[in-house]
């Protein structure tokens, strides 16, 4: 195989590659499409909203925009939910909305080739496989690829008015 040919194959493969932002919730590693991510910031100054589900921590001021903050650790029923210096909020942009999600930490950005992405098995009551775009396997690591669009607009997240009268 010639060098040029090889490059072309690589380039073609690259087009299908996706970049993911990897974050941790407890001991597990999750990843979301990096194009959905607007910014990463610390967890601070969140105003509680009464009578909202417990995983909705409240709203915060993101440069003049009121943004709801969702704690995925509570949503995914993790045992230890602590807020400290390491706690970060990933601000994502889904369905024309800006939402902040609280995670334990952001580790890195990874490029996955299509053959590294395996279909997600049917599992879990807490995290329906509907909200997963697959599992990413990287040598000894496994990344849970979350379809953040579907997850945040789903009815059970209660982030969007069910009667979409916006």
């Amino acid at each position: 195989m010639s060098q040029a040919n090889n490059d072309a194959v690589l380039a073609a493969a690259e087009e299908d590659n996706c970049e993911f932002l990897v974050f941790s919730l407890g001991d597990e590693e999750y990843a979301i499409d990096i194009l959905k991510v607007q910014e990463i910031r610390g967890y601070e100054n969140v105003t509680r909203i009464a009578n909202a589900p417990d995983f909705i921590k409240g709203v915060t001021n993101l440069r003049g925009v009121i943004v709801p903050i969702v704690d995925l650790r509570i949503k995914f029923h993790l045992d230890s939910v602590e807020y400290g210096g390491q706690t970060v909020v990933i601000v994502v942009n889904v369905a024309d909305r800006i939402v902040g999600i609280v995670v334990d930490g952001v580790s890195d950005v990874m490029t996955l080739t299509p053959d590294q992405i395996k279909p997600a098995p049917e599992f879990g009551v807490t995290l329906s496989s509907d909200f997963l775009s697959g599992l990413g396997s990287l040598e000894d690591r496994m990344l849970v690829l979350v379809d953040i669009d579907k997850l945040l607009t789903s009815e059970e997240m209660a982030l969007v008015d069910s009667t979409s009268n916006r």
Partner: protein, 711 residues
């Protein structure tokens, strides 16, 4: 460039012209019409016709043409105006407006309506002047494709019959008019044909010839150079027209020989005119038309240069950013004032920054403000139509047209205001005969006014009609099963008319009486953060007052503290605050508690319960009761502490989240944190729902999970 690029300009101009036309029609005194006004109406119709012709809007062109002809007779005094004629004219104007809208949305206008109005207008011409306009029907549409055919069709009728078309009518009186030489510079053939057709409408075209760079048209008629230019400007630029009066006794023949052979017809007709008195030799300065173009034109040009159209989104973005700036500035301010060793120049700088930031905010907010005139300008027509339908005589007075109001409010206030005005006309003002019998002037008076009052705008609809009848209202309310008593205050009795389904009209009319309107009016106004008050005196009239905040973006708020959380109450809802005494609190069946305040029992809403606030004061006698009003009802709201009043920038929660019960919006406090703005009636509903379910709403969530508190 495509001709469609000019469509928008035409639509806008035509819309303005129609609005002008309507205004003049409404102001027109039928007994003694002001010729200036008639001319203005005529000019508007004519200009629209010109544009419509250029762009191929046939129906609009035909309608305006027939209309214009009638107006032409009217301004010459051949057609005696009557109120019903003006009504028809107004109807015609409405139809033209519909046609314009249809063309704007790239549809064909309603053919049936178009034919009907043409017929009506022609009927008027036939009956009033005894002169058919049928010829006019075809003439203007003869869309000449070549200059020769246009000159044929046009020259012939001018020669034969004076009635043939608009210009024909002009001819008879214009015979002695000035001879004008209209020179078109750099106008292509297609436009030239149109322009010549236009000129034929204005006067008698003696000849036209030339090439693209310079094309001369000799026109005889009474039309002033200004008018000609105003008409032509629909098609070409003012610089492209030169209008000069032609001197001398031997006008046309001298000019004509060098002109094209196709002018034969025009020449033939000159001998007939030769007997006429020679046109005035007065030479008009060439510059004149340019300098003193038709008035609306100059006004428009001035408006164009002094204003720009900007999308509301952009303005809102600026407002948002300025809001942020203000917050950052107050954060800085806080930091500086906390500094131990205050540096005086730093403090000076800070206060300067504060002042500049406030000024900036004010100016930016003012961008969104538009004068009430935009709302009021439609009412002369509403009043006229409604009064006409009801057979009443009404004089409308508007005051405070320049009062400015947020654009979004202006758009939303129009409907409720129209409803109130119609109501006043229908139920308020009496029939002329009855008024006379009561010793009032026959003509009823309706005053619409707007003015600023504190941080609010006050809009009043005042009539000098019959006023409201307290007894009748109470009787009707009982009939409707409403809970009323004879001891109610007048103010409360008047508020009854806002109850859903409440109508005093004995019969349902075209205008009102279904009883659906007033509660919608009230709800709309409350939706805008305002309120409606009524003052009425039997036999003397009714005054409906609408109090609105100046803008939706800024709210006068009262910040309160419950536990560690800060909330904002709309200041307009806060009546008073007091420390509840134990003996004034009464428990009602179940969990309900009422607070007695000066002989009134108010339902108590404990914020910490409704919104699940932790570490709040739970003993009512240690907390503060804020008496608030929402949708006409009063509540006692228990809070821990009152912090103070402040203006807050209202931020929508639904943009990124959803509607939250009991919360109307959010705002950002000086420290950058978010505070929620309470919705009083929503809180009351929430509190009732909670008590009914017997447990906090949040616990209905089955996946309730113990969570650690934020550090």
């Amino acid at each position: 460039m495509d001709i469609t690029d000019f469509f928008d300009t035409f639509f806008e101009e035509a819309e303005e012209l129609l609005a002008d036309m309507e205004q003049h029609l409404l102001e027109l005194d039928v007994e003694d019409p002001d010729s200036e006004q008639l001319n203005a109406i005529f000019r508007a119709a004519h200009s629209i016709k010109g544009g419509a012709g250029t762009f191929g809007f046939t129906a609009l062109q035909k309608t305006t043409h027939i209309f214009e002809n009638l107006l032409d007779h009217a301004r010459k005094g051949e057609l005696a105006l009557r109120a019903d004629l003006v009504d028809t004219f107004l109807e015609a104007k409405d139809i033209m407006h519909d046609q314009l809208n249809a063309y704007r949305s790239e549809e064909e206008p309603d053919q049936e309506v178009f034919e009907r109005i043409c017929q009506t207008l022609q009927q008027i011409a036939l009956e009033e002047i005894g002169e058919g306009l049928e010829a006019a029907e075809g003439a203007p549409i003869a869309n000449a494709t070549s200059s020769s055919s246009s000159s044929d069709t046009k020259a012939a009728p001018a020669k034969e019959a004076p009635v043939e078309e608009a210009s024909g009518a002009d001819d008879s009186s214009a015979a002695s008019g000035d001879m004008l030489n209209v020179t078109l510079i750099n106008v292509d053939e297609k436009d030239r044909i149109l322009l010549v057709e236009e000129l034929e409408q204005l006067g008698d075209v003696k000849s036209h010839s030339g090439d693209e760079s310079r094309y001369e048209v000799i026109l005889q008629g009474n039309t002033s150079a200004d008018d000609i230019e105003a008409v032509m400007c629909f098609i070409i630029e003012p610089e492209q027209v030169e209008i000069t009066a032609i001197e001398g006794e031997a006008p046309t023949p001298a000019q004509e020989p060098p002109q094209a052979p196709e002018q034969a017809t025009a020449q033939e007709e000159t001998p007939a005119k030769a007997a006429e008195p020679a046109p005035k030799a007065e030479k008009k300065p060439e510059k004149k038309p340019e300098k003193k173009a038709e008035k609306p034109k100059t006004k428009k040009a001035a408006a164009e240069s002094s204003s720009i159209r900007v999308s509301v989104d952009k303005v809102d973005q600026i407002i948002n950013l300025v809001g942020e700036l203000i917050i950052t500035q107050s954060m800085l301010d806080q930091t500086v004032s906390d500094l131990e060793d205050a540096n005086s120049s730093l403090q000076n700088g800070m206060s300067l920054l504060q002042r500049n930031a406030r000024d900036l905010q004010e100016s930016v907010m003012s961008i969104r403000m538009i004068p009430m005139e935009f709302v009021f300008s439609r009412f002369p027509r509403v009043v006229r139509d409604t009064a006409g339908k009801l057979g009443k005589e009404i004089e409308l007075v508007t005051e405070g047209k320049s009062t400015e109001l947020d654009k979004s409010l202006v758009e939303r206030i129009t409907d409720p205001l129209t409803h109130l005005v119609r109501n006043s006309l229908d139920h308020g003002v009496e029939m002329p005969d009855k008024r006379e019998a009561l010793g009032k002037p026959r003509t009823g008076k309706l005053i619409l006014s707007a003015r600023h009052q504190g941080g609010n705008i006050l809009i009043e609809v005042k009539d000098d009609g019959a006023g409201m009848d307290r007894e009748r209202l109470l009787a009707k309310a009982r009939e409707n099963g409403l809970n009323v008593s004879d001891t109610m205050s007048d103010e409360d009795v008047w508020q009854l008319i806002f109850a859903p389904g409440f109508s005093l009209a004995k019969e349902v009319t075209d205008v009102s009486g279904r009883g659906v309107g007033m509660d919608v009016v009230k709800r709309n106004i409350q939706g805008m953060g305002g309120r409606v008050e009524i003052q009425s005196k039997k036999g003397e009239g009714t005054n409906t007052r609408i109090v609105l905040p100046l803008t939706l973006a800024i709210l006068d708020g009262m910040s309160i503290k419950v536990g560690a959380e800060t909330f904002i109450l709309p200041l307009s809802a806060v009546l008073e605050s007091l420390q509840p005494a134990k003996e004034d609190m009464y428990a009602m069946a179940g969990d309900d508690v009422v607070l007695k305040v000066r002989d009134e029992y108010l339902p108590v809403i404990a914020i910490h319960e409704v919104l699940d606030v932790e570490n709040a004061i739970t003993d009512p006698t240690k907390s503060i009761a804020v008496i608030v009003q929402g949708e006409g009802r009063r509540y006692a709201m228990l809070v821990d502490e009152l912090i103070g009043q402040q203006q807050v920038v209202v931020k929508n929660l639904e943009d990124n989240y959803r509607k939250v019960p009991g919360i109307s919006a959010a705002t950002i406090l000086g420290d950058g944190s978010v505070s929620l703005i309470l919705d009083i009636t929503g809180l009351h509903r929430l509190s009732r729902a909670k008590k009914a379910s017997g447990k906090p709403v949040s616990q209905q969530n089955p996946t309730y999970f113990k969570e650690a508190e934020p550090s």
